[in-house]
Amino acid sequence: MKKIDKKVADSYFREKTRNMIIYFIVWFLVSYGVVLLAEPLSEFTINGFPFHYFMGAQGAVITFIILLFVNAKLGDAIDRKYGIDEEKNRQISSGKVLDH
């Protein structure tokens, strides 16, 4: 066990949280945002769909899937940057199975 500088630990958490806030802003805009503006947005069409319908049926879902994969990938990159070893994580968490 070695101690990590407080600043380093804080910046790990900050980076993760900042990314999460960005994901949630996008998440909000493509779902709630489009619903709130459904009437004006229905003037545009995309691939034959009125825009609000396209977002509800396809656009939002595809954005959600992309956000989750971006999060998984960037999450791994942040872990690597801070020297986290997934193999160690696995050992630690299998050792942490509670005794009951």
């Binding site: 066990m1 070695k2 101690k3 990590i4 407080k6 380093v8 630990a9 790990y12 958490f13 999460m20 994901y23 949630f24 998440w27 779902s31 709630y32 619903v35 709130l36 459904a38 229905s42 069409t45 995309i46 691939n47 034959g48 769909f49 009125p50 609000h52 319908y53 396209f54 509800g56 049926a57 396809q58 939002a60 879902v61 595809i62 959600f64 899937i65 956000l67 989750l68 994969f69 999060n71 998984a72 999450g75 791994d76 872990d79 020297g83 986290i84 070893d85 997934e86 160690k88 994580n89 696995r90 050992q91 630690i92 968490s93 299998s94 050792g95 942490k96 199975v97 509670l98 009951h100």
Partner: protein
Amino acid sequence: MDTQFLVSLSIILATFALYIGIAIYNKAKATSDFYVAGRGVPPIFNGMAIGADWMSAASFIGMAGTIMLLGYDGLAYIMGWTGGYLLLTFLLAPQLRKYGRYTVPDFIGDRFDSHTARVIAAICTIIISFTYSIGQLSGSGVVIGRLFEIDAKVGTMIGVVLIAFYAAFGGMKGITWTQVAQYIILIIAYLIPVIFMSLQLTGNPMPWISYGELVGKMGELDRELGISEYFAPFTNGTKWQFLALMFTLMAGTAGLPHVIVRFYTVSTMKAARWSGAWALLFIGLLYLSAPAYSAFSRFILMTKVAGSKITELPAWTKTWVDTGKLQVADGNGDGVLQWSELIISNDIVVMATPEIANLGMFVIGLVAAGAMAAALSTAGGLMIAISSSFAHDIYYRVLKPNATEKKRLSVARWSIVLATLFAGLIALNPPGAITQIVAWAFALATGTFFPALVLGVWWKRSNSKGVIAGLLVGLGVTLAYIFAAKYGGFTILGIIDTGAGVFGAIAAFTANIVVSLMTPAPSQKIQDEVMDLRYPEQMVYKNGDVWMNDDGPKSV
């Protein structure tokens, strides 16, 4: 006995044999395996299992029909049931995995160091999962009943026996691999008819791209008929109801115990992140196809069925009219069936469309097998959630801490059998439509677990009194709003019973925060444990400092 019956029966029996075979092969031996599959399921397969767990009879049988009838307003289900995975994967799943408990009530009981909170959480789990499973069992009853032309009640009983069998003897491990198989069957069964219809109607084998132009065309047809356009927003409810329903479905997703427990089956926080991403990809395949399914079904009904002579209707109409789910009355007596004279229940759209589009016996049988996979897989996961709440959280952690592992396993199995039988009994005369029951389960999860878990993971100051107040107030407000909106006609901003979770969640967050602040903070140890959830497994938070663990489990 006609050929269709034999074809459908063989397909269903073959898929059942596969599921049961996998369950027997993986027959669980130890309790740890029974609940969480030994924690070693790779993310991509765990993603498929989450998908099968997640997509129930409501998604498979009910959703496309709901969208067909509600038009744009039905899309709240599409966005709600997919967007919730972001709340789950960002805010809860990896953190709960690091905390490392078997069940959701276990987390709540240990995080807040309170047996009262544990028991309330276990009871909430049982209420939510039980409500949900009634819908699944009656869904499987409808499919079996319709298919074999027997009473839906007998069909429900067949479903009960199957679920009790493999949930009780396979445990989660059996279920994980069974659910992987079920996901594959159900997604094939859903995509084949959509792709065939797309080829039939547009000549393009990619339904996701081709149905846009049909949506536009149907708008023109609707204008000619003088009804509101298929894609026009908020024709079946207010904008606030749309938003409230969408929020309820999203937050409910993140609070459903049988979905969360899936994330305990992965090895690490990283694996939890990837499981969430794979799960939504696999779920998204069906959810992106459902609106296409609706559009094709509606287009076929509008152009091929409506407008035909009432005496020359195709053969499929008769069987479905007999079920009482389809009405084709010639109201104005001109001998022609108009669009307005065709009344179709949203529960039969997915099942009937392959017949309407004349896709052949194999496809019809496959759709029935897929619907059964959807109903059974979800019911299996729900039963595990119920049995672990009872056998683990109430029996072992509170009532009999000295019970042997063998005894606990037998209590878990018996609680599955009893819960399945009891849910089956209620499903014989369900208290509402399937989609309605499922929506209530989501509203209850939004009003109880979503606030309790989010505050439990992200706010170290939240304490046992706060969480108890939050759970009880959230449960009470959600239930009260459902009943007031459904039976009393009471609504706020046009939000009806299916959007009740919004009010439950607001009340629960408020109660949890206010009561927590008015009572003493949790112990330093608990606050440290909550801070620890911010970091990956290898980083450990202790007394205000973060430590890097390079020596493996021994030094923890």
